[in-house]
């Protein structure tokens, strides 16, 4: 990726525009791809991530849907089973509860139940993340629900580059792929090459190399971990920061290789810590690299409560660099 990054260092786009560019590439290269979701056509999406698609590709490719999440997922499953490559949007990740049956019992299982005779090349976009004072029903990160479902792939782009590349990879994949975006990253600037490129699904990204500590992050927490790494370097912790990028498939090899080198690890995600995907990563690390660990694998995540509305509370709710640093200090007794 550094290679790519250098090539294109002069072209910077915000995360939100990278999403749109990824979708545009998908629609250009795949005649069977269409986009459907609530307010994605005429309004261009509530965050503008679909802006211009209706004008460019027309009403035959871009569809506003009713407020019917079960219907939207059904639309994807049925049209994919019939040969299309749907790209659907579930506006906020909090809303997947409305369509978990269609996700878990239909989309994820149909191929297996049918003995491999069905193929569902579906891309599902959804917006996760807290910090916008949107309270308990518009701020959740629920990747743990999806990662537990055989048949789905689940990616969480942390940068504009990955947002565009993973959307293109998802649409080329012949399986249902969830692309979990983060509303607090929409304005984040980053290198985004012109044209189509892919980011491998299931490959973690070592964003910062380090000697004696491994931090594995999901989604937006990458940025907080990089900030924390700076502070930690001042107390002798040289952190390797790995953006998991994909939780299903999860790149165990890259993470374990790092831990075997650094001997200490932490997982950071925005989701509620208890029962979050960080537990799976921690469990795997100690299973595979037990003898290499000098300290327990630490986990940073949200406390065990719904996301509070008041900025005064949300501020202390959402994991950040400070909490990462504090947790590392406690873990390592520094």
């Amino acid at each position: 990726m550094s290679a790519v990054a250098s090539e294109v260092k002069n072209r910077q786009l915000p995360y939100v525009a990278a999403i749109t560019e990824g979708l545009r590439e998908v629609l250009k290269e795949q005649p069977d791809a269409f986009v459907a979701g609530e307010d994605v056509a005429q309004a261009g999406g509530v965050y503008g991530s679909f802006r211009g698609l209706l004008e460019e590709f027309g009403p035959e490719r871009i569809y506003d849907t009713p407020i019917s999440e079960k219907g939207i997922v059904g639309l994807a499953v049925g049209s994919a089973a019939a040969g299309l490559r749907p790209v659907i949007d579930i506006m906020f990740m909090d809303f997947i509860g409305e369509c978990m049956d269609e996700i878990a019992n239909q989309m994820a299982k149909m191929r297996f139940m049918f003995g491999g005779s069905a193929t569902l090349p579906i891309t599902v976009l959804t917006m996760a993340g807290a910090g916008a004072n949107l309270a308990a029903q518009h701020s959740q990160s629920l990747e743990a629900w999806l990662a537990h479902l055989p048949g789905l792939k689940v990616v969480m782009p942390a940068t504009p580059y990955d947002a565009k590349g993973l959307i293109i990879s998802a649409s080329r994949d012949n399986n249902p792929v969830f692309v979990i975006l983060n509303k607090m990253s929409l304005g984040m600037m980053g290198d985004v090459p012109e044209g189509a490129y892919t980011v491998p699904i299931g490959k973690a990204n070592i964003v910062r190399t380090g000697k004696n500590y491994t931090i594995v992050t999901l989604g937006r927490m990458l940025g907080e971990a990089l900030k924390a790494a700076k502070t930690l370097s001042e107390i002798g912790i040289d952190a390797e920061v790995i953006d998991a990028r994909s939780v299903q498939p999860f790149d165990t090899d890259t993470v374990v290789a790092s831990v075997k080198k650094t001997h200490r690890a932490m997982i950071v995600h925005e989701a509620v810590r208890f029962g979050g995907f960080g537990a799976e990563i921690a469990a795997q690390i100690q299973e595979i690299a037990f003898d290499y660990l000098d300290a327990p694998v630490a986990r940073v995540g949200a406390p065990f409560s719904p996301v509070p509305f008041s900025p005064a509370l949300e501020k202390v709710y959402v994991p950040d660099a400070a909490r990462i640093v504090a947790t590392a200090r406690a873990q390592l007794g520094l």
């Binding site: 309004a43 509530v46 916008a132 949107l134 509305f309 008041s310 509370l313």
Partner: protein, 326 residues
């Protein structure tokens, strides 16, 4: 058949409408000034619906609301001070600052919460109506929801169960013609959501949601029917939101024409109603102005209360996740 509202009732409805209007206008300003965080969905334009329905209800009757819930809470008796405090995210708010605009509620007033999930209200109202029937207490539960929400499966299941069990429930669809930025013609193939009533075995009634008296009468019939144990009604109120889906822009929006907005604003429910009250000699222009002035003073006091209120202490974050009483 619908009974005529007494003068007392007319004035009551008027005050509720005015209270909603001024609260919302102020809330919009405060959001623009960056004093209220998060998202605000203003009820301006739909005041006749909440007021015309709620005047029939006691604090024991329950309602469920939507993301556009301030008007429902105000019409149900919500106090400005604790409401503004909630929008500000203060410890003195109705939800101690944990809910905000999209979850503002008051259980004592039977207001079972604004809701961030479109379509979440009807099943909950159906459940409250079930409790009323179970207790034989003659209370009614009213679900407010939008035209967009009528496409959620949750509405379908709730309506079917309410009709099946003949529950004391009323389903009030506030059809303002849009779900977010999507016009009704682009989210359902029917013009009247009330057409869905027959499929559940309940009456479907359509009323002008800008006419407080029409709403009052139709709601009165539906609520009386529910109290008598004759089952639920689907009451569709044709209305309009004067501002954008979120925030305070009214004109110059891409998804609706200014002409359309102006057409509806000519039928401002408060202006219509005040003219009607003046014609009836129930409320003179001067008396109306006095009501507005009183309400504006309440608004001012409410904002002051909110701004003087403390933010929630971080130590309270994990409170209220579980009930520890037993």
């Amino acid at each position: 058949m619908a009974k005529q509202p007494t003068n007392k009732v007319l004035l009551d409805i008027h005050r509720r409408m005015v209270r909603i209007r001024h609260f919302e206008e102020q809330a919009g300003k405060l959001m623009e000034d960056g004093k209220i965080p998060g998202a605000l969905h203003l009820y301006v334009g739909q005041e006749a619906v909440a007021s015309g329905v709620m005047v029939h209800l006691s604090d024991q009757d329950q309602i469920t609301s939507t993301h556009r819930g301030h008007g429902h809470l105000i019409a149900k008796g919500g106090e400005f001070d604790r409401m503004f405090a909630e929008l500000y995210g203060r410890a003195t708010g109705y939800c101690k600052g944990k809910g905000g605009s999209m979850h503002i509620c008051n259980m004592e007033l039977g207001m079972l919460g604004a809701n961030g999930i479109v379509g979440a209200g009807p099943p909950i109202a159906m459940g409250a109506a079930f409790a009323n029937r179970y207790r034989k207490n003659k209370q009614v539960a009213v679900a407010f929801f939008g035209d967009g929400a009528s496409n959620e499966g949750s509405f379908h299941e709730a309506a079917n169960m309410a009709a099946l069990y003949k529950l004391p429930a009323v389903f009030v669809c506030e059809n303002n013609g849009y779900g977010e930025y999507t016009a009704q013609v682009n989210h359902q193939a029917v013009v009247d959501v009330a057409d869905r009533a027959a499929g559940y075995g309940m009456p479907g009634v359509i009323v002008d949601g800008m006419d407080a008296i029409a709403v009052y009468e139709a709601a009165g019939d539906a609520i009386a029917r529910a109290r008598k144990g004759q089952g639920p009604t689907l009451l569709e109120c044709k209305t309009y939101r004067f501002y954008d889906h979120v925030g305070v822009r009214g004109m110059g929006l891409t998804y609706r024409t200014d002409e359309e907005v102006q057409r509806w604003m000519k039928r401002d429910p408060i202006k219509l109603f005040e003219k009607h009250l003046a014609d009836l000699k129930v409320l003179s222009k001067k008396q109306a102005e006095a009501v507005h002035a009183e309400v504006l003073a309440d608004v001012k006091a409410g904002v002051a209360f909110a701004e003087q209120s403390p933010l929630p202490d971080v130590s309270t974050l994990l409170d209220d996740v579980y009930s520890v009483a037993s």
